[in-house]
Symmetry: C2
DNA sequence: ACCTTTTTAATACAGTTGTATTATTTTATT
DNA sequence: AATAAAATAATACAACTGTATTAAAAAGGT
């Protein structure tokens, strides 16, 4: 009873924070990160600056949270797919790998926002630390996927996994970047196809 | 005589513009692109705002020029190597490919600045157009390098070059990004090694 | 020496920024 | 109904921003 109420309260607060973070995304995409001022974000979220301050006491808090939300959304998406329910399968692994490419509008949006944060990370210690943490997580996840591919005999057992994870992660990252920057040339279909061709070379 | 004087005049003007652009780089790296205001750049270049305005009438002009300077520096570097003097050679090709990775401080610096501009390109039409133009140029250059590798029998003739150029370019771009963001994990040595391993798989 | 051009600088303007403080409204509790 | 807490809002402050205008200094030409 009391526990449920507390959880609902927290969820309401958290839902508003998430709504504000998504308004931040919208501003970043439309006007660039440098124009994601607290006023512009507040306007986008239909709040006043004072009101927004109730949820994020500093702009830095807001940006960090907005960045973390990208990873949270990815994790939720993967979780919702119920992958690996019956043990590892090739198709599930591919599905995880595909989450690293902007193959739909949602993912593309997130990656564009992420790119903006990457840029800011170079000069902002807090953003950088968070960025690095999330990249490390992705690296581990990809390494695990590669190990599973080898386990499933979908990749050769003699591969140097240290090299291959750098190669795969680099490929995914680079193609994503190109797909964002030159969407007419590097279409989702093309980069998805190249990913599959790449995986074929691992057999 | 008169021609030499005009050229010297232009070179002097151009040299000052380049100096200002490099001050812009310095500010971007230290404080982020969003803090590369005309005042901060002017201060970095030891000029006043009015003085800076003599060389770049708008901030946008300054940023575009600063972005173009990255490519100009790369081209100059490649030019200075006198590659392909005696026709194509494998080592020369590798040298060009290595220019796509942050293997030294200069290149790393340029790529960090480039990352900042990429981010800004998402919301700024002028920057985006210039970004896309430069990326297209790089794509073509890489495609040419791949074709030369095939010609030199350093890559199989049956490769699908459309796939391989996307793969190679993606790999180079992605590893560069990782080297910038996680320099302790993705060291220049590692990414250089992975590039070579990748090229081995093309044989 | 004087005049012109180039380079550098100072100042102003209107607008924006993150943060702080105070106020008001809404919701929840007693 | 009264009180307290939560949510929203308005206002202020000091500093910063790109651009415009005017001024001054330095360099070049006659």
């Amino acid at each position: 009873m009391c526990y449920d109420w507390v959880m609902e309260k927290i969820n309401k607060f958290e839902a508003q924070r998430e709504k504000i973070a998504q308004a931040t995304w919208a501003v970043i995409l439309r006007d660039g990160l440098e124009n994601a001022s607290v006023r512009n974000v507040a306007q986008e979220a239909n709040l006043s600056v004072g009101s927004l301050r109730h949820y994020f006491s500093t702009q830095s808090d807001l940006l960090i949270y907005s960045m973390e939300l990208i990873q949270k959304k990815t994790d939720e998406r993967i979780e919702a797919m119920r992958l690996f329910g019956n043990g590892p399968s090739t198709e599930d692994i591919l599905e995880v790998l595909r989450q690293f490419l902007p193959l739909d509008a949602e993912r593309k949006l997130e990656m564009e926002v992420w790119l903006s944060f990457s840029s800011k990370a170079l000069a902002d210690e807090a953003i950088r630390a968070k960025c690095q943490e999330l990249l490390e997580n992705s690296y581990q996840r990809l390494r695990t996927m590669l190990e599973l591919l080898i386990f499933l005999k979908e990749a050769r057992g003699d591969l140097d996994i240290d090299v291959e994870v750098v190669r795969l992660y680099g490929l995914l990252e680079g193609m994503s970047y190109h797909c964002i920057m030159l969407p007419d040339k590097f279409t989702p279909e093309i980069i998805n196809h190249v990913l599959h061709e790449h995986l074929q070379t691992l057999k």
